[in-house]
């Protein structure tokens, strides 16, 4: 079915494009026409007025945990994709800490098959080492051929400098990045950021230097090998400064930040809410300030949610016993628009860079363009919609969020991808 989107504002900084009151005819998943004042018979096409809405190249969340295979009680590829779609994402990259880990072509193919014909495209990130154990390299060439877009032992950093060096050298051959969860294992027994608040709240401290050490190691190794490294969920001010300096030396390093790390600080832990327990942990005001500066100056390339579904019974435990992580797909864009766009830290162009263009460049994916004949992959934003987060309405299987009942301004109201339109929670295809 053909769909005509009328009177929208189309924006794509990659094309230097900003067109107001333009119409977009979508047919068979492609852009059929892109012009002002398109006129079609209502019987032949479905016409939707998008006055006041911004249509942008589809947003991608490059750091999500879909939990399948292994923990289908928490999330499945289907529910995770639905959560992404409702959150405004046309694509996700899923992390390999599943059971079994994504360390064989078979598991990559399983995920690709499970997500076939979905409105959301799923790009598997494969393990860098077999079983994410840090001993032997995963079959990266075969994994890439099966559809893997990057390599990571996420959940932990690649165990030793020696296997990291080989992983970088090998991945460089196929120009895929190593995505690193930066944490020094020997310093990671705490459950919140070390500082005045860990002293006050009596929770075991996790020092930010644990992150900094591995960021430094990875930057030096990327420089030495010439490979690409992408720093996942950066959270410490020192780590951010090191990435900034490395970029100035043209070392191939990129970085992402989560919405919770630019929105919240470890002050929030005074409630001991286990939905505030994540790894890396929430950091101090000083760290958040550095992160906001780094989003602005381009040191931080991407925003990714680190969507980490957990069951209610797991999160209802005592703080130290509860697992790390929160769901994020359905709150990410609203938080970024509220905290970054409306607070004038980032322009809309910069938001689009962080959510659509930069992450695709990290993963070597084609950026969707407003061009007749191209695949149509779009996110539809309403910058001014005021809404309240309601975790009971999440389509994700899990509800572990610290943002429940938070008032946000700005929302992704729909997406178009793979020939399907999702608008205001309804599929129109």
């Amino acid at each position: 079915m053909k769909i005509l989107l009328k009177n929208l504002t189309a924006i794509n900084p990659e094309q230097n494009l900003q067109e107001k009151n333009i119409d977009l005819l979508l047919s068979d998943g492609k852009i059929a026409e892109f012009a002002h004042n398109l006129d079609y018979d209502e019987k032949a096409v479905k016409i939707i007025d998008l006055s006041g809405k911004q249509v942008v190249p589809g947003f991608i969340d490059i750091h999500v945990h879909l939990r399948e295979p292994g923990r289908e009680d928490e999330e499945t590829i289907e529910t995770g994709c639905k959560s992404a779609a409702f959150g405004g994402f046309t694509a996700v990259a899923c992390m390999p800490n599943t059971e079994p880990a994504i360390d064989s072509a078979e598991v990559v193919e399983f995920i690709k098959n499970r997500s076939k014909n979905n409105i959301v495209d799923v790009y598997p990130v494969a393990a860098a080492t077999v079983g994410r154990k840090g001993e032997f390299l995963s079959p990266m060439l075969e994994l890439k051929e099966a559809g893997a877009v990057a390599f990571s032992d996420d959940g932990v950093a690649i165990k030793t400098a020696s296997i990291l060096k080989r992983a970088m050298e090998y991945a460089k051959m196929i120009d895929l990045p190593i995505i690193e969860h930066c944490e020094d294992e020997s310093l990671s027994f705490g459950s919140m950021n070390e500082g005045i608040n860990s002293t006050l709240f009596g929770l075991p401290p996790l020092p930010s230097v644990s992150e900094d050490l591995i960021v430094m190691r990875d930057i030096l190794m990327a420089q030495y090998t010439g490979a690409r490294v992408h720093i996942a969920h950066i959270s410490s001010a020192n780590a951010v400064k090191m990435v900034r300096e490395a970029k100035s030396k043209n070392i191939k390093v990129t970085a992402e930040v989560t919405p919770h790390h630019f929105t919240l600080t470890d002050d929030a832990l005074k409630t001991y809410d286990t939905n505030l327990k994540m790894n890396p942990p929430l950091r101090s005001h000083k760290d958040v300030k550095e992160i906001l500066d780094a989003l602005k100056d381009g040191t931080i390339d991407c925003i990714a949610s680190d969507h980490a579904p957990h069951s209610i019974e797991e999160k209802e435990l005592e703080f130290d016993y509860a697992p790390n992580g929160i769901v994020g797909l359905e709150t990410s864009i609203g938080l970024a628009l509220t905290e970054l766009f409306h607070k004038k830290i980032l322009s809309l162009d910069e938001i689009i860079l962080k959510y659509s263009i930069n992450p695709r460049k990290v993963l070597n994916l084609k950026v969707p363009a407003f061009k007749v004949g191209e695949k149509a992959e779009l996110t539809i934003l309403d910058l001014d919609e005021v809404w309240t987060v309601n975790k009971e309405k999440f389509v994700s299987k899990s509800k572990n969020t610290p943002f429940d009942k938070r008032l946000l301004t700005g929302k992704a109201v729909g997406i178009y991808n793979n020939g399907k339109l999702l608008l205001n929670g309804e599929i129109i295809s």
Binding site: G202, L203, E316
Partner: protein
Amino acid sequence: MPLSSRHLLGMQNVPKEDIQLILDTANTFKEILDRPIKRVPTLQGKTVVNLFYENSTRTRISFELAEKRLSADAVNFSVSTSSVSKGESLKDTVKNIEAMKVDMIVIRHSVAGTPLMLTKLCDSNIINAGDGVHEHPTQALLDLYTIREKVGKLDNLKVCIVGDIAHSRVALSNIFALKTMGARVSVCGPSTMIPKQIEDLGVDIIYSIDEAIQENDVLNVLRIQLERKAREYFPSIREYVKYFGINSERLEKNKKDILILHPGPINRGVELSSDVADGPYQVILQQVTNGVAIRMAVLYLLGTLN
């Protein structure tokens, strides 16, 4: 004047008036402990559950005695004898206990924040008997009571907490309560055992035990954990004893008149030499006696609120 809160979760933000009220109430209860029949009917008909997720013989017995002397029905629930070992969640355990219609829960748990969690799970009054390395408010209150009893005041008194501050629930509660009452608080111990940014709480850090003795009116000496894991924080017991241990020679060399507290159990020959542990400056057993009176006061004040 009733207490301003219906739970006792910690000493942070407990107002001066509340501390004063608890200490004064303990005074009247202490007298009961010296009677031949050590029981008053104050909490008759009230049920108190001692929910202990961590071994603690003395704190549990102290609470249990306080409850019994107030004629409350005291029920003990410890990890080893409960369904916890069968994997029941804390939430289910608390819901079950509450379904049996109890009035107060005294909780000891190795994870910080668990007493606060209980206030959200049930309607009982919650008393924190120690959570992780966070707070142990009744210990701080009995320490304050003992200091006030011996010295006669808390205001402007110089108190140093000595030992493993970072892994102590006693230190933080003492710091909050003492500062609220106007005392000047410092901490002394190996730098690996001083938690990050503790100076932001308005306490001085001293690395010399001799200086700590010279500069202070009171030393509250904490137990050093001797397990393998804790041993990563200092080179050896020998070195600890040599540089942070308190013995008679050290006391005499630096100062005569000082009050020494210890929450127990003591590692004799480590943080305190035996002659100091049994000597004229210490008030360790008085602390234990006062602990019962303080807990009676807290139970009474919370139990008669509603």
